[in-house]
Symmetry: C2
Subunit: 193 residues, 2 copies
DNA sequence: TTGACTTGTCAGTCTTTACTGACAATACCG
DNA sequence: CGGTATTGTCAGTAAAGACTGACAAGTCAA
């Protein structure tokens, strides 16, 4: 009387697919590879950690692609390795709280992208200042233009500094209770426009 | 006694180039075309509005590319058209306050990317709920899994709602005095880690 | 209007990025 | 250890995205 089990429950797969596809699009939009986002979505939805073979079959991707994408997700602290004793395969699971995940992403972006840019802007500002002063000393006709360029560059460097402060403040409140309280406050800020 | 004017002042060009290149990289990092960023940087640095020919020559790009990129910048409200009476050419100028520019960018991203995603997430959540309830009614074995998937999807949809609230709060304080005050506060928030 | 100049469009091409699959390296079992 | 299951790497290829340049469309002075 035993029946062949359904290989893929239709309704569940359909629901999951929609979410996975949507998350893939969001990721692509924000400069993250689409496949990376899809794997993350799959792991977020999964009740238990998954191994690579399951992921490649479910998302129809090569294992090479999967391996690389998982390395990315690990580097972004979006997923964790799970070792099961007596099991050769490595399993992966996702953080289950979206805000915790989001904070990890922001922290990583800060480290990789914001800090280097802030540093570069300071260097460029210093260089602009030196050039402008040198032109002054030499009585060069482009001295005025150089000072003007310095002003604008310095203004942008200041903006980047303040931007970093804003991110730092966001990371400081964290995904915990304080952060939660502030997000609740945000909901009641009167909207512009 | 008149001397041939220097076609390109060395020091000024060098200073500008560094800034333009850096801004191009930042843009690329955040999902904006590199050329679009470079044009924006050039206009930000310029003391007066520039026409397309000046831009194409300065940045060594085709006018087709320039035309398309300028359309993008206009759509992002990052630059403005300037019409000079008795002049056929159209000139372009950039907003000069970085925070005002940044707010405009965020407002545009919200409209284009955040709102559609929030809407999609609500749809997907509703669909997951319907599927789960239908499975219940039919006594389907996948009912439990469907309810679990619904939970996780709903959790992410809530996160997106709160994320949008956060952006709205940011836009509400604006680039004006209130925003400036809050950014000053941000500087003194004790850092995490 | 015409004609000269400027800007917009888009097919074709070039460049960059993503993906596959064969092979290498690693981990784990007995 | 040796054998095998699994994961990592990377050269080659496929797909996506950016850029050019020829042509079309628009604009303005006369």
């Amino acid at each position: 009387m035993s029946q062949k089990p359904q290989t893929s429950p239709k309704a569940l797969t359909e629901v999951e697919d929609r979410f996975i596809a949507q998350w893939g699009e969001i990721s692509a939009l924000w400069g993250v590879n689409r496949t990376v986002g899809r794997i993350h979505a799959l792991l977020y939805l999964s009740r238990q950690p998954l191994d690579m073979e399951t992921i490649t079959k479910r998302l129809q991707i090569s294992h090479g692609n999967c391996s690389t994408s998982i390395r990315d997700l690990l580097a972004w602290n979006s997923i964790r390795r799970v070792h099961v004793p007596g099991e050769r395969r490595v399993l992966y699971e996702s953080e289950q709280d979206p805000w915790t995940w989001f904070h990890a992403c922001i922290r990583e972006r800060r480290r990789r992208e914001v800090v280097p840019v802030v540093d570069a802007m300071h260097e460029i500002t210093d260089h602009a200042k030196l050039s402008a002063d040198a032109a002054d000393a030499a009585g060069s006709p482009e001295a005025a233009d150089l000072h003007d360029a310095f002003e604008r560059i310095a203004r942008f460097a200041k903006f980047m500094d303040e931007f970093q402060d804003l991110i730092d403040a966001f990371l400081a409140v964290g995904a915990g209770p304080l952060g939660k309280a502030l997000r609740t406050v945000a909901k009641f800020v009167p909207k512009a426009r």
